[in-house]
Symmetry: C2
Subunit: 283 residues, 2 copies
């Protein structure tokens, strides 16, 4: 039952779980200013990138995460034009955002430029929109960037970060959410990856509380499978001063671009939370 | 990155994935007539039972699988009284079925009596309804039992089996489904666990095809997270000669028993399939 060197194992000591992918070879390893970045060729999931040995993205299943972080917010917003992505260095979320014709500018604020450069080299499909003139790349601290951003200057903020420990911890608190609230227009929407419903229920509870404290009257969580993340089950949480209950359904049905997980009817279904999460969140 | 002896790893060679739980100790190991049965105390998931080193059930997350295999079928059926469970040796599905007051008899046909005896010893919560006078235990081959069962004698058949290799393979083909169709009453419903939507799409396609070939005009798949099964994402497929589109919604809202994942609104949401599965199944 021991896994040998032919496997990459992400061991999550706090939850007593581990997930492994069989690998053909290690394609890349470097220590950037911020973290260890590795890329593997796997036997069944295409290429995989890990940051500090935590799996970020694989060719095979990244579409679920990226579609579910991006499209629900962008189809709820009546006319999403100016977007910021905090984190998102692999550029998969950016690629989904740029599928929306209403979008005029996306600013991606990723602290570690090396993640994006490695993704450009090894995940060309995720980066194929990087040359879109609407895309603007900044490699700096997202928290400070948000503090300095102009009030009411964005329609959607997507927080596509690593787990809320270390670098990303400051993206999951009231102070940061208050800055997001200030920078969003009155009908603006924040969408953040919020970890595993099964393993990190407390993180979800804290995010809901902090978002409300920061002035977001409406907070809703959606859920989706994500094989390579802890427990294989993940969530995103949306927040706005205005209602998140309706979407541009017809626009979604008639969208001119392809999605592989998300679609108009799945949008509402993904917001229907299991009983124990409803109870935990008092929704 | 190697996992040591403190971890139990389920290695799925065909998909190049593995899932591991950290263990405190091995509580039980035996080789029954049919398979190796082991029980571990884990650090974070309570007790875990594995059959031939494939995880079947943990204290922490079995509720999702058992609720989602059982309640959708039983709340779609107008008046489920007589039920058969093929497999289901851990008795978790039986426990959920017996929560329904309409049920008058449940026959559980599990080939390996030792699985049930081990579950009684180590998973008392799953087995707490085993003494219910409506429960009838048979330890024999489910395929033969179905061949010999009287026509139109059941309302619901639940197929709660291991993966469709080896022993369980015969539970996933047209011949077996034809027998189920014969044994079900005209408004009867079959519900079967049908593996991972991500990793086993071909099994889902084959199940749909075989169920239709066997005379089930209506076939619908639902999906749910299941941390300890391959990919962390699982499915169940329901089949009937009659429509599966509606449910006893008000009965479900007013149900007198507790569920932790399933509820009335989640019922419909769980049948909304991702785009790539809709495409694969032509639904």
């Amino acid at each position: 039952m021991l896994l040998d060197q032919q496997w990459f194992s992400e061991i999550d000591q706090p939850t007593g779980t581990a997930f492994s992918l069989r690998i053909k070879e290690k394609l890349h390893e470097e220590h950037s200013e911020f973290q260890k970045i590795t890329v593997y060729e796997t036997t069944d999931f295409g290429r995989m990138m890990a940051l500090d040995d935590v799996i970020m993205v694989t060719d095979r299943d990244n579409f679920i995460y990226h579609e579910m972080l991006v499209h629900p917010a962008l189809f709820i917003h009546p006319n999403p034009r100016e977007i910021a992505i905090i984190g998102g260095g692999d550029c998969g979320s950016l690629h989904e955002v740029l599928k929306h014709h209403s979008v005029t500018q996306v600013t991606q604020i990723e602290i570690d430029e090396r993640v994006t450069r490695v993704s450009e080299q090894y995940f060309p499909a995720l980066c194929e929109s990087n040359t879109d003139p609407r895309a603007n790349f900044l490699f700096t601290d997202g928290i400070r960037w948000m503090q300095e951003a102009a009030a009411h200057s964005l329609d959607v903020i997507l927080i596509d970060s690593t787990d809320p420990v270390g670098m990303a911890e400051g993206l999951f608190n009231t102070a940061f959410y208050r800055e997001c609230r200030r920078v969003l227009r009155p009908d603006g929407i924040l969408a953040q990856q919020t970890e595993s419903p099964l393993l990190h229920t407390a993180i979800l509870q804290k995010a809901h509380h902090s978002l409300r404290t920061a002035g977001f009257a409406q907070v809703r969580t959606l859920h989706f499978p994500q094989c390579v993340y802890q427990s294989g089950w993940w969530s995103a949480t949306l927040a706005s001063a205005e209602s998140l209950a309706s979407m541009r359904y017809q626009d979604c049905v008639e969208k001119k671009f392809t999605t592989h997980y998300y679609h108009a009817d799945l949008h509402a279904a993904s917001f229907v939370l299991p009983q124990f999460i409803q109870t935990a969140l008092n929704t």
